[in-house]
Amino acid sequence: MPRFILRRAYFAVLTLLLVSVVVYGVFSILPFDPAALTCGQKCTPQVIEANRIKLGFDKPLWEQYWLFLSGIFLGRTYGAGSAEFTCPAPSFGYSFNENMCVTDMLKEALPITINLAIGAFIIWIIVGVGLGLLAANFRGRWPDTISTVFVLLGTSMPTFVTGLFFLIYVTIKWKIVPLSLSGYISLLDDPVKYFQYFILPWITLAILYAAFYTRFTRATVLETLGEDYIRTARAKGLSERVVLLKHTMRAALAPITTSAGLDIAGLIGGAIITESIFNLPGLGRMTLQAVYEFDLSVVLATTILAASVVITMNLIVDIAYGYLDPRVRMK
């Protein structure tokens, strides 16, 4: 097992390096001058040149990349003399638009996105797997029909439709959930405000995924119910409840876990639409903003972050799979 994890970690680092090189490369061939973007309308050539030197854009590309890489581990100092300032390690660069170290921006945005993703995940797993199980167990009867309707609605309504619906009706017209004006509050500080802040974004995101998981669970469970070992379980005299919840679910768990791990990883990279609708200053919105403004450091940082989350989740899923499926464990 440790050897397996080491090997995977090695490949993970290689992949991340590759991702960063590609993002760096793409931004370097784009036809704009990063130094010119640092100071809007009232710029003089002198300021641009000064900024160029301050942010290191005067150096050759490979050296810029090297400074970026070493910054992650050693921190990075910009400018000189009295104007000198440092982004301590791990530094992912400096955003000239926000006048902040990117790491500090990440520290603000990441908790929001993680809370959004995990909350939505909990809802969609419970609803999706639950409905899927019901649908499979009552195949062709009314619970199955209801789940089919839910799946159809869930998959065919885009997030901006459900999101806007919740915002306009649930918050503004019906006033069921008050409009959250206070911004992000941690669960530990004020649970009520925390839930008010997140509940609608969670539901919006969860509906889409829950629909998919309902379908997926239903199909997986139905397939498993046809297996010979399920017939064996029944032949032992086990009740239908044990057959379904123990023997069938145990086998259906592995593919659902795989899928869930990758979906969560995707969401942590940023749920751009949901974050935009509900005005959540999370990673997705931050990335979008940075792309509009050609803010290379931010895009680079969020891309690498998203890539490392995907890679890490992949690794976790693989390790979890080993525990879920004894046939994989042995190898």
Partner: protein, 345 residues
Amino acid sequence: MKNLLEIKDLKVTFPTDDGFVNAVDGVSLTVAPGETVAIVGESGSGKTVTSLSVIGLHNRRVTQISGSIIVNDKNESLDIVTAPLDKIRSYRGRVVSMIFQDPMSSLHPYYRIGSQLAEAYLVHNPGQKEAANKKAVEMLELVGIPEPQVRAKEYPHQFSGGMRQRVMIAMALMNDPAVLIADEPTTALDVTVQAQILQLLKDLQTKLNMGILLITHDLGVVAQVADRVSVMYAGRIVEQGNVDDIFYSPHAPYTLGLLKSVPRIGAKSSERLKAIPGQPPSLINLPTGCAFAPRCEYTSLAPSGSCASLKPELLGSNDEHKSRCHVPEDKRDKTFAAEIKGARA
């Protein structure tokens, strides 16, 4: 001694898109303690449906079932056909157990062997975890798994096919059932392992005095272990008798056809297998007369037109050996005996 299993006039039908399938049409048979009764027939003859309904594992939502399946245990008895599912469940694995064709896929891949065995015991003896684990190891030992203590902690994929079928047998016998249904228990195994598994079943039967209902299409298996045989064709029993009757003086043309189609050691390689011509009929629209008539070589010996228009009854000059055929029994005796001799020569 009282029969452990009495099936009377069992009829099983289920709907398909093309119409009602008469999978089992009036099957009657009995299994006594210590006795092995084989049901022989080709694919689609209704033998598996018969065996599944004995344990109540037919699809209850769509299947229509009539007749009776009486299971007699030490001091209780139950008609599986009319009993509620809860009651049937309390019989499954305790009074009637079943082992299946494919041991590779019949064990849950994610649970340890020992816990799968123990579960079979715990269902009927809730809470007795220690006894269940102890019994699991005992049973593994009984079916000839070396180092049962160690193997109980392993997973099915660490066992070979033959070993898995031994595990299946051990699991089926966790509660000392009165009747064991073995649905093609050796079909998925290679020949040497087949012989071992059959021998094991025989040994265990002697030890535990259980009745075995053996479902198979393999006449070799029948000859090895069966005491009595029911030959099924198109959902009906066409011949029923003890194993010698069936092999040495078959009374139904279908049985004769099966016997003649067995390849013989010593036959010339140029010789073709004597297959029964034609295809088994669809179970949706069975012919009004004898279901085998379209493939039968002996219709000319029967009273004219009877084979095509009348369903033959299961009759015999003695109760032990019965068959369905319109050809008068004395005529059959002579013709078939000669054929069997010819085929064996």
